[in-house]
């Protein structure tokens, strides 16, 4: 919900899955796409958003951050 992958833009390069400092993503072998699985452990650093070559990730903060 707070880290959203736009699968129309995603090319399955795996960068977000490879680089996430908190291992928030998992990889779907069948779809060849990442999924946000451990969102509770996200610290919203934005590395995935910065490094995605297709800007396919959109991030907002959870309400509890405010």
């Amino acid at each position: 919900m707070y880290v959203k992958i736009d699968y129309h833009r995603c090319i399955g390069c795996g960068t977000c899955y490879e680089r996430c400092p908190q291992d928030v993503f998992t990889w779907d072998e069948d779809l060849n796409m990442p999924g946000v699985t451990y969102i509770e452990e996200c610290w919203f650093c934005g590395c995935c958003w910065m490094d995605c070559p297709k800007r396919a990730i959109d991030i907002t903060y959870p309400a509890s951050f405010f």
């Binding site: 490879e18 996430c20 400092p21 908190q22 291992d23 590395c47 910065m50 490094d51």
Partner: protein
């Protein structure tokens, strides 16, 4: 028949240098050690391209001392001790001396690794640092380091170091008091890997996670820390402690105002203010001079909170520079804040009550000026450490980079004639059992839940306003909480990260509480409400803890003075400059 290590571990690897932790420090050490011709394995629980405290970037490099030299640093250090300031806790100033003498060499080495040390005009951009404490006189650099980690990761790969990403150390391997490598596990595949090494370097960062960040919910989103949670778990502290090393200053945490507002801009760029103090106001516009823990409590009781930092007395140039700084260190936060209408000129940053932050720079692994990890003040063979986890002054960006580069540079000499590592298979087997145990637990507890309980314990029973009764109750509760450790469960290998971190944090909580019980005084922002005065008998001393014969031991140690030759060198330098 005795089992061989290859029958226990899925992989057994041998190397000259094992580096645990691939942040700025670990990456610098890896590249340098390779340049010196050593075989290097770098393990990182995440991925070196985006790991450590600077995963998403950093805007400052606070590495340069003023021309005052070490004699003045010694004087400032002594003065800060007299006044009880936090910054005066480095147990051994000789470590700082190594960094001081080599700061420009480090600058050049970083440039050789492809790190951008200069500003847009091609020159170093010097800034004074306005952090409170004796380091206020230091200068540092403003840097565009949004992508410091990808840059260093590239340099590491180019150097030929073997990188094992998603690989976490379970425990150090020891043999007759010598450290001979580590048992590790891949936290994506569950593969157990034993690594034998002549030298093991700890570069795992700081420890923050004994205390809560800002997020209030009891369950979700428990990682609203300023620094990367993965490198704030104190892994290295626990690893070396279990191997018999000294941990020092474990009573002392940093303290900060909890900073939280509706735009959730994190700090980090406040260093840009050219030494001009920020101004602090109550909600109704009264200026607050020198806000601190006591002052905040008074204001709260008087109905004068919330209080805010304001930058509106700064120049427009500063506000533009602030925006650039946020982009260098916290691009996502800045983008989200902008979308929500953030205005750097008019924004007021709410400060909340002062809370413990974490253990780094002065609390943690006890090292000497060769970056050797100590036990009873004597180096443990084969074990080294640098970066935020060391209580030696190798904290911060520059400390990590400098420590990593200087240590790696001297490793060929340090490792000369070191015999091959002998590994105890029984030890490896035990490590594997510990690491994989959570897979077998049914209906257990998830690591983040147990960690939340631990953080609550430290908040409630340690916190800022410490006292005997609370600390003792905290210890009692901690012993009870430890009963949950065997119930930690992992549905997938990912959960092993949290399980191992939880195990480390539980051990370190006990060390922390015992240290707080020992320090019966109030000194600076370390507050024992039952001992409100400074105890002068503790001047010049620090708390040192380790395990001996399976039991925790605590002693007071004297600060290590500057070596005569360093003092003479610094005095000569000062005379020459005049």
């Amino acid at each position: 028949m005795a089992q061989r290590i290859e029958q226990v571990a899925e992989q057994v690897i041998e190397t000259d240098v094992l580096i645990i932790g691939g942040g700025i420090g670990g990456c610098c050490a890896a590249a340098k050690a390779r340049e010196k011709g050593l075989d290097v394995i770098l393990i990182e629980k995440a991925n070196i391209d985006r790991s450590g405290s600077a995963a998403q970037g950093i805007d400052h490099y606070e590495g340069f001392f003023t021309r005052d030299g070490m004699t003045t640093l010694q004087n400032v250090h002594n003065e800060d001790w007299r006044l009880g300031r936090y910054g005066a806790r480095y147990p051994n100033l000789n470590v700082k001396y190594r960094l001081y003498k080599n700061q420009f060499w480090v600058f050049e080495e970083l440039e050789k690794l492809g790190v951008p040390m200069r500003w847009d005009d091609g020159e170093p951009y010097w800034i004074p640092f306005s952090f409170v404490g004796w380091e206020r006189k230091k200068t540092g650099l403003r840097v565009h380091w949004t992508n410091i980690k990808p840059i260093l990761a590239k340099a590491v790969r180019k150097s030929g170091a073997r990188v094992l990403n998603r690989t976490m150390a379970v425990d150090l391997l020891t043999n007759n008091g010598r450290v001979v490598g580590a048992s590790t596990i891949n936290v994506r595949t569950g593969e157990f890997i034993a690594i034998k090494a002549k030298a093991t370097l700890i570069a795992t960062g700081k420890m923050m996670r004994l205390y809560n960040p800002e997020t209030p919910l009891p369950w979700k989103y428990k990682f609203r820390y300023h620094f990367c949670p993965a490198s704030s778990a104190g892994d290295g502290y626990a690893l070396v402690y279990r191997a018999g090393a000294d941990l020092v200053n474990m009573d002392i945490t940093g303290w900060t105002f909890r900073h939280r507002d509706d735009l959730t801009i994190s700090y980090g760029s406040f260093s840009l203010n050219d030494g001009v103090p920020m101004k602090c106001y109550t909600w109704d516009g009264c200026e607050v001079i020198n806000p601190n823990a006591t002052r905040y409590r008074q204001l709260e009781e008087q109905g004068k909170t919330p209080i805010y930092f304001s930058f509106d007395h700064f120049t427009d140039d500063f506000h533009k520079r602030l925006e650039v700084g946020f982009a260098d260190e916290r691009l996502l936060s800045f983008k989200i804040a902008q979308d929500r209408g953030f205005n750097p000129k008019t924004h007021r940053y709410e400060l909340q009550d002062m809370r413990p932050t974490g253990f780094y720079r002065v609390s943690g692994i006890y090292i000497d000026d060769e970056f050797r990890v100590l036990r009873k003040s004597v180096p443990i063979e084969g074990l080294y450490a640098f970066g935020d986890g060391t209580a030696g002054g190798t904290g911060g960006v520059a400390g990590a980079a400098s420590g990593g580069l200087l240590l790696a540079d001297s490793l060929p000499v340090l490792l000369k004639d070191i015999p091959e590592a002998i590994v105890d298979t029984a030890q490896v087997k035990n490590h594997k059992k510990i690491a994989l145990a959570p897979f077998s637990v049914k209906d257990g507890v998830e690591p983040l839940e147990l960690e939340s309980a631990l953080r609550h314990l430290c908040e409630r029973y340690v916190g800022i306003l410490k006292s005997e009764g609370k600390l003792r109750e905290g210890l009692r509760r901690l012993n009870s909480l430890k009963g949950w450790i065997p119930k930690l469960s992992a549905k997938t290998p990912h959960y092993l990260i949290g399980c191992m971190e939880c195990r480390c944090l539980m051990e370190m909580a006990e060390v922390h509480i015992q240290a707080c019980l020992e320090r019966k005084e109030t000194r600076g922002n370390y507050i024992r409400v039952d001992y409100p005065e400074i105890d002068r008998s503790m001047d010049g001393k620090f708390i040192c803890q380790r395990i001996e014969d399976g039991r925790p031991v605590l002693e007071m140690k004297e600060h290590v003075p500057l070596k005569p030759e360093y003092l003479a060198d610094a005095q000569e330098e000062e005379t020459t400059k005049r």
